[in-house]
Symmetry: C2
Subunit: 223 residues, 2 copies
DNA sequence: ATATAAAGTTAGAATCTTCTAACAAAATTA
DNA sequence: TAATTTTGTTAGAAGATTCTAACTTTATAT
């Protein structure tokens, strides 16, 4: 259906729309590491193909069709990541590049089998939701760690960026999904946050790091 | 290193060399479903890149470098097929097309992991040998079924072609790898062979089918 | 051995994806 | 608001892979 290349553009538009609210040519160019004029002409092509709405000098939006096709690629990517971690024993910081390639495999049976073997997971190893076969996905209401207040006790649920370096950083700090984190103090001038988790008291996390960490507020169990 | 496309050409040359002894432009064109002039120019490119020896009007041969790179692609293909059958529950007639796509994934770790999880297999689900990490592979001396003599008792070890249709045909006849087959009679004018296996007496197999079936002679156990 | 068929080659063009250079619009800052 | 920076666009070209049409060489058959 779509080429490898078109799929990468769709995915990038989808991800940018989800994280920044909109996708413009400049951001796409940076994310895909492709020069702006190239992105520009691809926007025209995708627009002709009915996958995006594109008017000059305006941000790009996915059509319903584009939205659905993008979601299917994301689905294949996240299912693959989950499979690599759960069934093959890779670390959460090792799977992105491999999934980036396998996501383009054309074989509904292959991904259906993964889904089945994994028991129809709802999230990938980074806590991101896996769209269902219809392209629907639910971001349970998570908050960024840098939006919490001192005294909050929260659970680490997902990351919004999954670069190798960032995930390796979290590994070294023993910050895994489901870790219970208590916010101790927030430095007002630079947003550095002091947290406590596991046996670590007084761990410092920069605002940049906390901006990429999604947490849920701990359920206060009513007795 | 090599593009997707180049890998497909290399693999086809490798396979043709193995089955027909040599690879010429016309055969490559048919196998790859790409017109002859296109194949022709790719031969020049691969020759420039030092992967094949190519002189006008002569069959193409892989250089040592080309041989090794082709073997690595075959290795990835066959490891993938084995993984799909052994670890994901696909049938041997379902895995070719998926493996054809996954074989191009660039990630030594991914295939090393498959290899490990499979226990370092020597053959794929069709009985074809899997080249090792150095590109070496051993075809244990098998014979084609249509070269056997009446009275021979042999073991079904591999197929030389693994099209969906052919494998499904074998499935319907209950012809699985390791089946013990006794050659009863060979019709001289068309080479149709009457065989006996499992509970089937008098099963007829055309010469075309028998040409694609590889067998080993049954070990006569000395008491 | 000549004629025909099969296989191989050359030339030229098309499509896809990418680029650089130059220009234009929009946003930001002074 | 005017100047500057950032963002976006147009035009033109290049590399990769593919094609068709026309021609040549090698193999096969009469």
């Amino acid at each position: 259906m779509n080429t490898h290349t078109e799929e990468n553009y769709l995915k990038a538009i989808f991800n940018l729309s989800a994280t920044k609210g909109e996708a413009n040519v400049n951001e796409l160019s940076r994310q895909l590491d492709i020069k702006m004029p190239t992105v520009n002409s691809m926007m025209k092509k995708l627009s002709d193909r009915g996958l995006i709405i594109y008017e000059s000098y305006k941000p790009v939006r996915l059509t319903t069709k584009g939205q659905k096709e993008a979601a299917m690629i994301i689905r294949k990517h996240r299912l693959t990541e989950m499979y690599l971690v759960e069934k093959m024993g890779f670390g959460w910081d090792e799977v992105h590049d491999i999934a980036e390639q396998i996501e383009h495999v054309q074989s509904p049976e292959f991904f259906a089998k993964m889904d089945e073997l994994l028991g129809y997971p709802k999230v990938d190893p980074h806590g991101s939701p896996i769209p269902d076969r219809n392209g629907k996905m639910e971001w349970t209401e998570y908050h960024k760690l840098n939006e919490c207040k001192p005294g909050d006790t929260v659970i680490f649920k997902a990351v919004t960026h999954s670069s190798d370096d960032f995930l390796k950083f979290l590994n070294t700090r023993e910050l895994l999904l489901e870790t219970v984190i208590k916010v101790i103090f927030i430095e007002s001038f630079d947003g550095t946050i002091t947290v406590e988790y596991n046996k670590r008291k007084q761990e410092l996390l920069s605002n940049i790091v906390c901006d990429k960490i999604l947490v849920s507020h701990k359920k206060t169990r009513s007795v």
